[in-house]
Amino acid sequence: QALIIDSARFGPHSKSDDTRPIEMIEELRRTRDPLTIHGNRLAAIDRETVDAEVEALVRAAFEQALSDPPAGGAL
């Protein structure tokens, strides 16, 4: 038996090496994003709660990082 995970990239591995047509990538994002797929399995209220918590976590991390002085002094 084998476990085969049929995943799809939404962007390049390196910086600009993705040569697929843009419509294909947009279609993949719409239909194959695990966050979207799994999010749709949650009750709406649970999805909103999770999104809000994560948003707050990320925002706080950004604010902390941007307000901290540069480590080791400026360049």
Partner: protein
């Protein structure tokens, strides 16, 4: 004027043109992208059947290439960042380096793995290392480091077509943008080949017009450039006259050019960007101690501090050796003798 990047690209192009057995493999090396550092740019267009893009599997592509080499091809694998070379260790050490020996010379594995090492670009702990020392001393495996002294493209060409051992070819990222230095073009220093190595030569740098050196510096790769800057500053700012020995083949180690110089000066400072413990400098120093004994009056090593390399630029600068660190270490060795 040629950059190291252009020279390497040219060396690959010449190898592909001269021998149809040469094959390039790596991640994202096809045009138009042409590889993360552009070393392979233009090659998939010129040689579409022999420049192959691989999945993101360093172990897979190296094992595959070892099989190709075994079957008569001359593969050149690009490992996108030298930090990922840890994933290539088993196919290199236990397959490529050993098969010629295990099959008693009935086969060879002419596999070249080329990879950018080095920091100072803020790429963080897992994209900035110089871990070539992990490959030193593996029987059957050559390790060669390009610098911008001499022709790095010719060095790479020779690695691919003039020798049949598996070989790790180290390219420091900051070398790519440097101009290749011809012997005649230098204004404040002289450079000449030294030692008897034919394929992967050693060089000796001295300050133009300086008196006989009293200190030996030994370096390779990008640190050879920082060592060169230190060489000039030591002469002009501190009247300390050294000579710099630059090796290209790191393993198997032929330390004769360094030994010859250290025998003359009695003082040796090795310089590397990798971490200190069990590094390249440790091996060079050990050989010099064994051969020169009391003739070696003082010795030291300049290397990176032993922490993961920080992503923050200020901290990265303090972790990796700079010219001032070389100057301080040289002075310390000088001071040891006057104590």
């Amino acid at each position: 004027m040629t950059s190291v990047l252009e020279a390497l690209n040219n060396g690959l192009q010449r190898a592909l043109a001269d021998d149809s057995r040469v094959v390039l493999l790596g991640e994202d090396i096809l045009d138009p992208y042409g590889g993360a550092f552009k070393v392979t740019r233009g090659l998939s267009t010129a040689f579409p059947e022999r420049v192959l893009t691989t999945p993101v599997s360093e172990a897979g592509m190296t094992g595959l290439a070892a099989g190709m080499a075994l079957r008569g091809l001359r593969p050149v694998v690009e490992i996108m960042f030298g930090d990922f070379s840890t994933l290539t260790v088993d196919p290199l050490v236990n397959t490529a380096a050993k098969l010629r020996w295990m099959y008693n010379d009935q086969v060879s594995v002419p596999l070249v793995v080329r990879t950018p090492m080095g920091g100072r670009r803020g790429y963080g702990p897992t994209h900035s290392q110089s871990i070539e020392k992990l490959f030193l001393g593996v029987p059957g495996l050559r390790v060669v480091a390009a610098s911008h002294f001499g022709d790095p493209g010719e060095l790479l060409y020779r690695a691919i077509l003039r020798q049949d051992d598996p070989l790790v070819f180290v390219e420091h990222k900051l070398l790519y943008g440097l101009q290749v230095i011809d012997a005649g073009a230098a204004s404040d220093f002289e450079i000449e080949r030294t030692g008897s190595a034919e394929l992967f030569p050693a060089y000796r740098l001295t300050v133009r017009g300086a008196p006989s050196p009293t200190l030996t510096l030994a370096a390779y790769g990008y640190m050879a450039e920082l060592a060169r800057q230190a060489l000039v500053r030591l002469a002009y700012e501190r009247e300390l006259f050294a000579e710099l020995i630059i090796l290209t083949q790191l393993a198997p180690l032929d330390a004769a050019p360094v030994l010859e110089s250290a025998n003359h000066t009695g003082r040796l400072l090795t310089i590397e960007e990798g971490t200190l413990s069990a590094g390249w400098g440790a091996e060079v120093l050990a050989r010099c101690c064994e051969s020169l004994g009391g003739r070696l009056a003082a010795a030291g090593r300049v290397a990176a501090i032993e922490t993961p390399i920080p992503a923050a630029a200020g901290l990265e600068r303090r972790t990796l050796p700079e010219v001032d660190d070389i100057l301080r270490a040289a002075e310390k060795i000088g001071a040891q003798l006057h104590a």
